[in-house]
Symmetry: C2
Subunit: 317 residues, 2 copies
């Protein structure tokens, strides 16, 4: 089968072996989405070699005891050991022995078929189109912010980054009723948020709002956004880091101590609530779809997805 592989920091579509039938489910991928993490992996992030991709919707082709076979599913990307305390309580996201679809020790979703434990799969309600269902994983990640810091209506929230992740975060946060400001640099992307009633600003215009925000979400993937984010926070404010990227960031630790700021990392969320939001049509994902390519053009699609202003790029096997 075809798969988009990263080997030695180079992405190419190659013919690889089909995943073998075994204790895990086999899913035929209908559609996959390119995440910035995929692009960062080609730059060395996570040191991963193999098939990339972790946003998908597909049909279960094979599974233990025939469960879910024939059903359309999305999947939790962290596959735990099943034995540690975290896994036993149903949350493999921080299992120390976990593999992660297309990121750590497990081939991913930019392929004709993928493998995941049966328990990682969630059936997709019929009324959700493939093009929406594929947003379940990144939308869950956006909703995961609320697992890490409480967002209440009295909190002033800013999101930095008008890419696909920032637009999902801003929309998910706005559903709490808290006032949200999206800071970005692409007028056409900012308009997507504005149509949902979200206030927007350019970084230049946001400068005048220093020390106004209780929570700032960094979703731009740019190391330089860190200091902007800190400057927008009021004392004892919370900076949520959403983007994973390769490399280091220089911080002024004294500012964090003096203003008693909290910096909170946020990665994966829960799929079920995200799927529910998509079913309700509560999030505009249609406007986030930029381009679609056949899987065989995966390497080129990755390059397209890395361009400024481009939002979600799909691959169709």
């Amino acid at each position: 089968m075809q798969a988009l592989r990263v080997e030695k920091n180079k992405a190419t579509v190659r013919d690889v072996e089909m995943p073998e039938r075994g204790p895990e489910a086999i899913v035929r991928v209908l559609l996959s989405g390119i995440c910035n993490t995929d692009i960062e992996i080609t730059r060395g992030y996570a040191g991963f070699t193999g098939t990339i991709g972790h946003e998908f919707v597909g049909i279960v082709e094979d599974a233990p005891e025939g469960k879910l076979v024939g059903q359309r599913v999305v999947g939790e990307i962290n596959a735990g050991c099943g034995e540690c305390e975290l896994c036993r309580t149903g949350d493999p996201r921080h299992c120390p022995k976990r593999t992660v679809l297309g990121i750590v020790g497990r081939d991913g979703a930019h392929a004709e078929f993928l493998r995941l434990p049966l328990m990682n799969l969630l059936p997709v309600p019929e009324r959700i189109a493939d093009e929406h269902a594929v947003f379940t994983e990144p939308l869950a990640a956006a909703c995961g912010i609320m697992e890490r810091t409480p967002i209440t209506t009295d909190k002033n929230v800013a999101v930095i980054g008008d890419g696909k992740l920032g637009l999902l975060c801003a929309q998910a946060l706005a559903l709490t009723g808290a006032p949200v400001l999206l800071i970005g640099k692409h007028p056409e992307n900012l308009r997507i948020a504005e149509r949902r009633g979200i206030e927007t600003a350019t970084a230049k215009n946001a400068v005048g709002r220093k020390r106004e925000f209780d929570v700032v979400v960094e979703a731009s993937g740019s190391a330089s956004a860190f200091n902007t984010a800190v400057s927008l926070l009021r004392p004892r404010g919370v900076l949520v880091l959403k983007s994973t990227f390769h490399g280091t960031t220089e911080i002024n630790a004294a500012t964090i101590v003096v203003d008693e700021i909290s910096i909170v990392g946020s990665r994966c969320g829960r799929l079920a609530p995200a799927l529910d939001l998509l079913k309700k049509g509560a999030i505009d994902v249609d406007s986030l779809i930029s381009e679609e390519y056949p899987l065989r053009d995966g390497a080129m699609a990755l390059e397209r997805a890395a361009r400024k202003g481009i939002l979600k790029v799909f691959l169709r096997p």
Copy 2:
């Protein structure tokens, strides 16, 4: 009067004008303590010019309406505007217009006399010796950790740094009943914690305890301790930053996102609970006293305080 002044990154004891009588209280300093922040100010931290020092015990010489005159006091170092929302709720610590004793816009405590608003002063119970009362401010800062992140008996806590701040933090945290490990490099300092039943380790020995801790407190004032601290944290753990120092720290933001770590700045605490702990004799501060000098030898005392392994150095006017 004599005062230890920092001007152009150089500390010298000079003769300066006495503080004038006015709307604030005037305190005759009995004893002041040298904090690492004083040393960092001589290296450019906070860009402060003036009399340094913010840990003191003294006698009120003059005050509006004669209040507290003749009483022995310690003082909250943040002097707010008195008008903003924070000040009105009795917490000037983050007032945007605040001055800070010996750190921001206000001459400090390494002097014969200092000035502070009357409301910043707390009478010291008779049974607390001067040499203990002078620890009120740094002990309050140690207790301030609990304002920033909950410490419960089921939390595994590590403190990095066996200097005076680390030893106060470890003791204050241990009073919660949570297991505390103090990581340091000076056997004689580690023994102070051991005598209070606190487990200790060298950094080398702590390496084997990666990902074991729910809360790690960085109190060593060393930028390189940051990565050690992160490595000791379990996923979703909390790193508390206590030290203010001049310069920047390089962090790997992806680790913070992937392990969903929180980094929490902590600065000043409340004086009253700290004074209460000192009254109860709940904290061993005697062992933290290294040396005492007359105020006129302040510049030399600062150099002594900066030496490795030296704990609290007092100045007596």
